[in-house]
Symmetry: C3
Subunit: 261 residues, 3 copies
Amino acid sequence: MAAPCVTLLTDFGMSDGYVGAVKGVILALCPRAQLIDVAHDIAPGDILAGAVALMTSAATFPAGCVHLAVVDPGVGTDRSGLIVESGGSYFVGPDNGLLSLATTASRRAWKLDHPQWFRDRVHSTFHGRDVFAPVAARLADGVSPELLGSAVERIVTLEIPPAVHRDGGVVGEILLADRFGNLITTLREDDLPASRAATVVTIAGGESCPIVESYGFASKDTLVAVVGSGGFLEISSVGGSAREHLGAAGVRGTPVRVTAG
Amino acid sequence: MAAPCVTLLTDFGMSDGYVGAVKGVILALCPRAQLIDVAHDIAPGDILAGAVALMTSAATFPAGCVHLAVVDPGVGTDRSGLIVESGGSYFVGPDNGLLSLATTASRRAWKLDHPQWFRDRVHSTFHGRDVFAPVAARLADGVSPELLGSAVERIVTLEIPPAVHRDGGVVGEILLADRFGNLITTLREDDLPASRAATVVTIAGGESCPIVESYGFASKDTLVAVVGSGGFLEISSVGGSAREHLGAAGVRGTPVRVTAG
Amino acid sequence: MAAPCVTLLTDFGMSDGYVGAVKGVILALCPRAQLIDVAHDIAPGDILAGAVALMTSAATFPAGCVHLAVVDPGVGTDRSGLIVESGGSYFVGPDNGLLSLATTASRRAWKLDHPQWFRDRVHSTFHGRDVFAPVAARLADGVSPELLGSAVERIVTLEIPPAVHRDGGVVGEILLADRFGNLITTLREDDLPASRAATVVTIAGGESCPIVESYGFASKDTLVAVVGSGGFLEISSVGGSAREHLGAAGVRGTPVRVTAG
């Protein structure tokens, strides 16, 4: 049997011992766990960026994995810890929205209120090590979520604002920038006009660009829009960074408008 | 039996092939080794930062692991290589203090002076690949440290300066900043006043802040002190970076004073 | 039997879900694969830097590994995908030169033109997830490359320009900078004068430095040249960054001249 898979997504970076401390706890409790690094350079405290990365990542893993995610600016306050089951996999992390985008289908959730499963001393600034890691290890080892927490009906969820159809166009906004400086928008493929031949994408009422099939179909430093691999429209600068290209017009929340030509 | 675990902590970054070269050597010699990345973004040559990260990380791993650590500005000079055994685990790396903070309890050490265990050609700039990786692989494979090196009594050690009690307060200093911009100090939990209710922490004789339970207990951009997850007092800026907040007053060695209110 | 090893080298970074998405695809198709992170912080789109890192890394892995590499600015255009077999290991990635430096010996190659092995829907901006990952997983699982693609005679190759011997010296150029700010040149150990005692290395006709055995043999902030661990001459600033030291004179393509003293 393949070893149980535990993925790790955090904002801990790789310049301190925090990621290692989490891994050590898991391996001490479940030595046969297969640890898979997903992303540790989420911007510190950026719950939305973590939630989008978790959604992108978890989509391809086989059922039965445990996805541990920690972007947790409220650590040590009264926000809860969670196990969420969705699509046959488990997600473990803080109840701050981080787990919500990856678990939209048929979600079941448990609140982590059974301290006997935590580390002996829970430190108020490092639940990743002292609460979430031991719980993830037990899930990987086959312990049932019913034993690890109490069922809850609701969890904190992030919402990606729906597209607004107005004046013959559709309007969304910039959600976040990725490592390449691509600006992921809230507009989904289904929101776009059926024919994209003459479609124009306008950012913040200023610069505009066409929708193309992929980055390589325009010349360097040209602004283009593509339907990205997660199904959202994104703005890119060919061979460069749209975030840098657009500057202040490229930040989260900036309106993006699509009109058929 | 679970595969032997080898953790890796370096300042090699993830933008070159150096981490890969080290991993390849280990897997060529011990294919069943389970490689665990701990931290590769230690600031180049920052032995203290590496030693603290190794201490943080290794504390949670089960006994029997091999912890390979390479932050090695003196590579190729006459500094020795080491195996250190502590708490039932092995540490492999340069004798420059890097291994010292993680191995304070009941340490045994061996100098790596048996070149027959190294790669055929040892390159003077890459002992991580040519000396430390093959030795770590052999330890993971069950070779005794007595065969791999010669016992030594002393290793180079880093000291975290002890707290100084003076004028009714206790004085330490800033040790380093973590990824979040938290400033870890040399003051341990035991150094602090028993009651923290009215305690004041003063940095460099200037800005001051209270000790709180966790970051979430103060408003954004407020300076607070918390007892961090490693047991050291640390200065944080809520939702931001204390290092940026304090600027020149936030560097290594800056005095930090704690006084009961 | 040890699990089949799949190494991953990308420019995806660790701040998004892209690396995770690739890993999930591999584990879904080959759950026993052992995933080894090599480098994910290659500068976005920098094919040469990726090719050099892959060459550095793959050199030490045992035969039989699958090396997945994705630095792919032309994704979605008509550039092909490849499997390359070299030295008993497989390399999978775009046909843009990325795989060429690591596979110079006895190379066989197949073009990825059998979509039945790809993910059901191939997205034009993410062949790493939809084309290369499933192919790498099948190779790890034992599927023959003949089944996965069509044999091709030629692949796109990068060339490291050969040294030019002129006026009693030898001239090469700066190839790239590593994380430490070391400037790797195109000059190989064999290109250098047999005796290095009085040899002088001159960068861009300006600053010059001696060749030393390792960084530790000169004082801090001194410019030195060493034969690096990959066999190329490199320029370093002791305890600092030669790239920063040299500024505009330290970029790719800058001429470097070596003369016997």
